[in-house]
């Protein structure tokens, strides 16, 4: 069965203190790895999709990278508004559906 593990479960940073979140996965074949951001009381908001090892994508202070077994979400000089839960999800090859398997998420708090 697919497994997606995110670490750490929670991370507290000072404004401007860069760090990385990890998402490790075990799937028979990866069709895509997705990063979402979720604010309290809201649904997941799409950030990035990565498809192959070595791929990188950036958006403002966020950069996502992918290897064959894990993905990192790097946060450079974070601001308080970056505080949220960051979710990683994978889509497996095979079949015709678009089912996503999620990790439990990393709760990021950025203090001013």
């Amino acid at each position: 069965e697919d497994q997606v593990t995110q670490s750490p479960e929670a991370l507290r940073l000072q404004e401007g203190e860069s760090s990385s979140l990890n998402c490790s996965y075990t799937v028979s074949g990866l069709r895509g790895l997705f990063w979402y951001r979720q604010d309290p009381g809201k649904g997941p908001e799409f950030l990035f999709t990565l498809y192959s090892a070595g791929e990188e994508k950036e958006k403002e202070r966020l950069k996502a990278t992918l290897t064959k077994k894990e993905s990192f979400l790097h946060i450079t000089a974070p601001k308080p508004e970056d505080s949220a839960t960051y979710l990683c999800a994978v889509r497996e090859t095979g079949g015709s559906n678009y089912k996503l398997t999620f990790g439990k998420g990393t709760l990021l708090t950025v203090n001013p």
Binding site: K42, G43, A89, L100, F102, G103
Partner: protein, 113 residues
């Protein structure tokens, strides 16, 4: 452009009652999904519609859950009768045809007491 919309945002019902959740996907999106997050656990897949047809319902917990998608537009998820373990946040998502890039609604928080 309107996003995925879910109704209600919150629902509190007693064990044994029936509840119906509604999802309006982004206009033109053929794919519609239901997911659920119970307390302390990860978001889990329930089922996937392509237009009005069920493509994958492997995540549906049991036969107390019934999902429909009338005319390939909005979808409903009915829980009958509700049990305590059905409490959680139910998310709906949609994606355009041919892609799995899912956009999520804000969720319906269901509490069964």
């Amino acid at each position: 452009e309107a996003g995925v919309t879910q109704f209600p945002s919150h629902s509190v019902i007693e064990k044994g009652q029936t509840v119906t959740l509604r999802c309006d996907p982004i206009s033109g999106h053929d794919n519609l999904y239901w997911y659920r997050r119970v307390m302390g656990k990860e978001i889990k897949f329930l089922l996937h519609f392509v237009k009005e047809s069920k493509q994958d319902e492997s995540g549906m917990p049991n036969n107390r859950f019934l999902a429909e998608r009338t005319g390939g537009t909005y979808s409903t998820l009915k829980v009958q009768p509700a049990e305590l373990e059905d409490s959680g946040v139910y998310f709906c998502a949609s994606s355009p045809a041919g892609t799995g890039l899912a956009f999520f609604g804000q969720g319906t928080r269901l509490t069964v007491v």
